[in-house]
């Protein structure tokens, strides 16, 4: 029979099972959350932590996906609902980070600045790392792509074949859209699963993920018009 304490590690990875040599799948810290430059000061002042357990987050997200899944009929609708849920988070993250990072000062007025803030600063605040890359689409001037090898929404998720291209990172796509919209850069953001090929596949061949997630950011016309005027 298992000892009474053993079940706790489902909820909190910090309690390790004795004798187990199972290594956590990513090298990333197992905690996610708001970690900003001023988070230490926050913790010191209020004594509260600004990170949450990855397990707790995963369970919550899992429940959210199941809740939404029971109420929609198509994969598209499921992704839209996840994006909506993320949107509100994005708005708040923008507000909070702007407030905390006083060193940053002025708000971003140029498109690239805003995108870089999202893929670097916001990413670090939410996930403790920067996005793996930020690219501009070669076909459309108003499209940008943020690449992420393993979004935290997908760490434990295996999408069954009958749900096809569904990507739970739609939630993060919503966060991006919310943050950009809050900064007056309205855009539609969608999450796509891309099979790794060539060099990238070799790098992660040693047990890493087989797919990556690409967030396609398509800015609305007004943003592009304004950007042209500012240039």
């Amino acid at each position: 029979m298992a000892a009474p304490g053993q079940r706790l590690h489902i909820l909190d990875r910090k309690i390790a099972v004795p004798g187990s040599s199972y290594a956590y799948p990513t090298t990333r810290d197992t905690r996610v959350g708001i970690v900003s430059a001023s988070s230490n000061a926050y913790a010191a002042a209020g004594g509260r932590t600004t990170e949450v357990s990855l397990s707790a987050f995963s369970f919550l997200l899992s429940e959210m996906v199941q809740h939404v899944q029971a109420r929609v009929t198509s994969i598209d609708a499921l992704e839209r609902r996840l994006e909506e849920a993320g949107y509100a988070v994005g708005l708040r993250v923008l507000e909070l980070q702007q407030f905390r990072d006083k060193s940053v000062g002025k708000r971003k007025t140029r498109l690239l600045q805003a995108l870089q803030w999202v893929s670097a600063d916001m990413w670090r605040a939410l996930f403790g790392k920067t996005a793996d890359s930020l690219e501009r689409s070669t076909e459309n001037a108003d499209e940008y792509m943020i690449h992420e090898l393993q979004p935290i929404t997908n760490v434990f998720v295996s999408v069954p074949p009958d749900l096809g291209q569904l990507n739970c990172a739609a939630y993060i796509a919503g966060i991006i859209a919310g943050a950009l919209d809050g900064a007056c850069f309205p855009a539609t953001v969608t999450a796509h699963t891309i099979e790794l090929a060539g060099q990238e596949a070799n790098i992660t061949a040693a047990g890493g993920p087989r797919c990556k997630t690409v967030f396609l950011v398509k800015f609305s016309e007004e943003v592009m018009r304004r950007e042209a005027q500012l240039a």
């Binding site: 029979m1 298992a2 187990s20 199972y22 799948p25 998720v157």
Partner: protein
Amino acid sequence: MFLQLFIINKSGSLIFHQDLSPAAPRLSSNDSLRLGSTFHSLHAIAAQVAPIASSGIEKLETATYRLRCLQTLTGAKFVITAQPNTPELEVVLQGIYELYTDYVLKNPFYELEMPIRCELFTQHLEKLVERYNAASR
């Protein structure tokens, strides 16, 4: 070398079965289902007929194979079979249990008590077993 892994849910039906090495005996899916529920019943009987308070069958040692069973607090049973003299069966079972809590229970598309079809779980299971098999060689 490890042979096979069975995961049995709390009502006694087999929800996962995997051959862990080429040396594993070939079983049809019906046979493994039957084996899973038979073990579940034997486990329950063993717990009841024991002269002292017992949690059922924990391990079987035979001349041809070893079996180790881990029953979790939620009633699921993880059963692994291996060739004689394979060490660390219980450690591997703990590792598999951990993989199960991560890649099965945190997967929004898995329904409790239903057969496990999670790609990431199988992937990580293979890696874990490979590591132990390589170490014991």
